[in-house]
Symmetry: C2
Subunit: 400 residues, 2 copies
């Protein structure tokens, strides 16, 4: 490789890439050895050792004293991702709560705070300032655990692009520069966070990523993800990538029309899915105080609750049959309030899919309807998004 | 590059790739010079000359006597794609017609035959044999023009995967091995076509590709494409690629439900879009004999025709608002019978989109609804698919 003209940037680019490769390999394995990493990524043992040393020095990896004898080669010390150092700060702002999580490089939730608030009652800047306040408290707690945020990601219930909430009908937000408001408020409270990268996306997109990266879907890489909240969030994952559309606004399953002359929706249309299967509509129609109450009434066989759930299931099935005919996913994942209500939603939902999906692949027993795993939600997806960036280029996030 | 261990396959792979690059560059330009190709692809003039000579020898390019002086460098002879040699055979089989086209490397239609048939009256093998018969006649005519098919592509109105029509409700086909039937029938009629590559896809996918590759959409790379026929075909293009879904069945816009309790559809569901905006439904509701008759009645202001068109437009808008909310395209392209009916479909269609699309990007004057260009249809898309393969790897299609 005696090529003096080769630009230095290339070599350092290759090393950056290889640092990421090694870190991701250890991360995906949970614990492993240098020899196993070398076998996996196809680099030489000396190259792997040099990369591992740098990751240990920078605090991305730790080494435990115990050894572990593989089937080939001599025993090696065990490598694991560090449970201190760079962490993801995930913030979900929804209609009636704010959730903040700090997740470490091992993927473990280390700090978790949920505050129930009426976010429609305050102005957008106030809500974002309150979220920053909760995040600052969470970061104080994280600092005690020797965790420092590598970035923050905001999961928001609306159309988000360029750091701005273009529209969030259920919050009443329009053109709210959410990243800027949040970053400014957080820096005011915790000056050390000045310059912290802040990203934002639709909460359903973040929940779908959380589900994808959790591994709970197995080999499924093309799916629809619905999140039942006050609104019904939707996200589309095709071959392992979020489908964002031309302007970043794809996935609005909650505004598929299920009855053209139905009730007026906050989006301006009529008869949108969320007017039947959103949390507020469902509780009102069942006469239930909250989701737990609704599940209890259904369990007790209360006719009004059962009727409301069957109707919501039918409307979910009607909207989803359209989405399935358009997108041909392998599975539909139902999150938010839906997993605990599935026993009563599923019969009508599955019947509609079976009757209306052209491909014939959606028979009730095909196992294509799945509850979201309990391990995932939008704030965890947001934190995972930050960690994804760290794993993709650890040097950018190395301590100075 | 003194690396005797470098496998030969790599070098020949690079040359294959560069032949394709040069051929595509000339194809996209229509006519150009060696110097312009060199500037465009970033290879040296000698390398370009060697590649161009090979493409001239193999008959993919021709050189005209005239010269053309660019702004830089000396005048060069003009290079163009050949209008003889490898051609695409595109075959569209629809409910009431078969269309066959032979398109040359310049992208020009050279042979075109449409035969009106009732394809529901015959069995699938019979229909495919008849299509092969029309194709054989078209190839005889093409041979007189010194064109030889590089491959055949079948555009079919249904769910297609692995060479087989899984379901085509409007033809009454199930699990029909269309490529095999067609290839066998064609070889029986024209033994020289033995071994000709035959591919197949949904007709709406092929029409969408034809539209994309025609250049008529300008910078638009993410769009929905509807084809109004007996059924309503749909295709989704995201960032310039067809979205096929997990099993190849994506895009079934015609089976979005617009009225859950509406008329029974051939797919087994009720109230699908094609029950309102498909050709048969629209003509019946307007009391018109054919599409030209319908347009004439609308032009004359006949109330029944106007009402039927407004209703179809409303239902198109209702279904499309759902598809737009899910997919966030830049445009919706309406093909098949729709371009000539747009003056009467558009008002209700645009109103529905404006009222129901959450992003607010679909106001009636946003120019996002477009008629398919008259230059494109499914059989041309099918032929273009074959030519796309030729341009991607000309050596595979070189004469022996």
């Amino acid at each position: 490789m005696n090529q003096p003209t080769e630009p230095k940037a290339d070599k350092s680019g290759v090393r950056r890439h290889n640092l990421s490769l090694v870190l991701r390999t250890v991360h995906d394995a949970g614990e492993t050895t240098r020899a196993a990493v070398a076998a996996r990524v196809g680099l030489t043992r000396p190259a792997i050792s040099s990369l591992v040393e740098q990751l240990l020095d920078l605090g991305f990896l730790v080494e435990s004293g115990k050894t572990f004898s593989g089937q080939a080669g001599r025993p090696g010390t065990v490598l694991k991702p560090a449970d201190t150092g760079p962490a993801g700060l995930g913030v979900e702002i929804n209609v009636d709560y704010v959730t903040v999580r700090v997740v470490d490089l091992t993927g473990t939730d280390r700090v978790h705070r949920t505050e129930h608030l009426d976010n429609r009652a305050a102005d957008a800047a106030g809500v974002l300032a309150r979220a920053a306040g909760i995040a600052a408290e969470a970061l104080d707690e994280a600092a005690g655990l020797r965790l420092a945020p590598a970035g923050a990601a905001l999961a928001l219930p609306g159309l988000v692009s360029g750091g701005t909430v273009r529209q969030a009908p259920n919050l009443g937000w329009n053109e709210v520069p959410a990243e800027a408001h949040f970053g400014k408020a957080l820096t005011a409270l915790r000056p050390a966070t000045a310059g912290l990268p802040v990203t934002s996306d639709n909460e359903a997109n973040m929940a779908a990523l959380a589900e994808l990266w959790s591994g709970s879907l197995g080999a499924v890489r093309t799916f629809l993800h619905l999140t039942g909240e006050i609104g019904v969030g939707g996200a589309i994952v095709v071959h392992g990538e979020l489908l964002r559309g031309a302007h970043g606004f794809a996935g609005e399953i909650g505004h598929l029309v299920v009855d053209a002359e139905g009730p007026r929706c906050r989006c301006g249309s009529r008869g949108c899915l969320e007017q039947y299967a959103g949390q507020a509509a469902l509780l009102a129609s069942a006469g239930a105080a909250d989701v737990r109450d609704l599940a209890g009434r259904a369990e007790a066989g209360e006719p009004r609750a059962l009727t409301a759930l069957a109707e919501a299931g039918r409307m979910l099935g009607r909207a989803l049959s359209g989405a399935v005919n358009l997108l041909d996913p392998e599975a539909v994942v139902l999150g938010g309030i839906y997993p605990q209500l599935l026993p009563w939603l599923t019969p009508a939902l599955a019947d509609e899919l079976s009757a209306r999906v052209v491909s014939g692949l959606w028979t009730p027993d095909a196992g294509r309807l799945r509850p979201a795993s309990t391990a995932t939600d939008a704030s965890r997806g947001a934190a995972a998004l930050v960690l994804h960036d760290v794993l993709a280029d650890p040097l950018t996030y190395a301590p100075q």
